[in-house]
Symmetry: C2
Subunit: 172 residues, 2 copies
């Protein structure tokens, strides 16, 4: 597709996001942070990953400003770190929810979700969905197209369509 | 957090989803499929990854039923494969959009998006957002809680709250 070939993937925000969180353990550490797990030993126990891997991932997430480190001390114990989500980290929840619902729909046994994610206000299930700024939706991939944005690196006019986003074959 | 510790992460749909698409190149291959790139050589050119890596990732995505392989033949050339998104693959677009908007907001220079994702119908920007089944939203992490779902592996009552989803500190 010529249009796509004319613009650069060098500054893609998907790639940028994946360079920070695009590692399986990193997203699973975040999953536990969202479930309220704050302490190294608890996180290590639920994840079952090697301690040095967890230690690396927590350090990466703190350095990226996604988790914030504070400290607690239990009676008679030495001071230990705790990890809390920052606003930047909390904003990643929609990514995890989107992954979770795709896994529920396409990979879970009988499509039964292991975890129910619910709205505090009304107790109903919460979904990651796509809507436009005018509220149209929920949209699917075939309702959507992509254009170079303000920060695109390209050698073509800024109002040209890169390509329609590809829906399933035969749906067009 | 005791509640979280009482239920298993063994059948988590986030982990299941990541075991299929949780690899940086895999998600970038999908990004190109959404932009309409179908052919190996074009994909290799825009991604700039090694040919054997791309070949592996395409095979994984076909095996997982996310991409479907068909064939084309240009005049005087041998038959070559093309890759199209299946419905299962197309449903992943919300994951990529959520990653993209997080990258735009938190990682892009001056918050300027390299790519604009727009609604076919009205041309306005499209967002991945969280809403409940009753349409309340857009919700943030602190509006949401998690409970064991129908397929949870746990040793506790099914109506107990696992934990509130953790918002940014101080927002509670």
């Amino acid at each position: 597709m010529k249009q796509r070939m004319d613009y650069s993937a060098a500054n893609c925000s998907v790639a940028a996001a994946l360079s920070v969180v695009g590692e399986k353990w990193t997203l699973l550490v975040l999953r536990e942070a969202f479930y309220g797990i704050k302490r190294f030993d608890e996180m290590q126990k639920v994840l079952g990953c090697a301690r040095n891997v967890l230690s690396d991932r927590l350090a990466t997430l703190v350095e990226a400003g996604i988790l914030e480190r504070s400290h607690y001390r239990e009676h008679g114990q030495r001071e230990r770190p705790e990890y809390h989500l920052s606003k930047k980290g909390s904003d990643l929840f929609v990514v995890l929810l989107a992954l979770m619902q795709w896994g529920d729909q396409w990979l879970a046994k009988d499509g039964e979700p292991p975890v129910a994610v619910l709205h505090n206000g009304c107790g109903l299930a919460v979904f990651a969905e796509m809507r436009c700024a005018d509220g149209h939706g929920p949209l699917t991939a075939k309702d959507i197209y992509a254009k170079p944005g303000p920060a695109a690196i390209l050698n073509r006019r800024n109002d040209e369509v890169i390509g329609t986003v590809e829906g399933p074959r035969g749906d067009a």
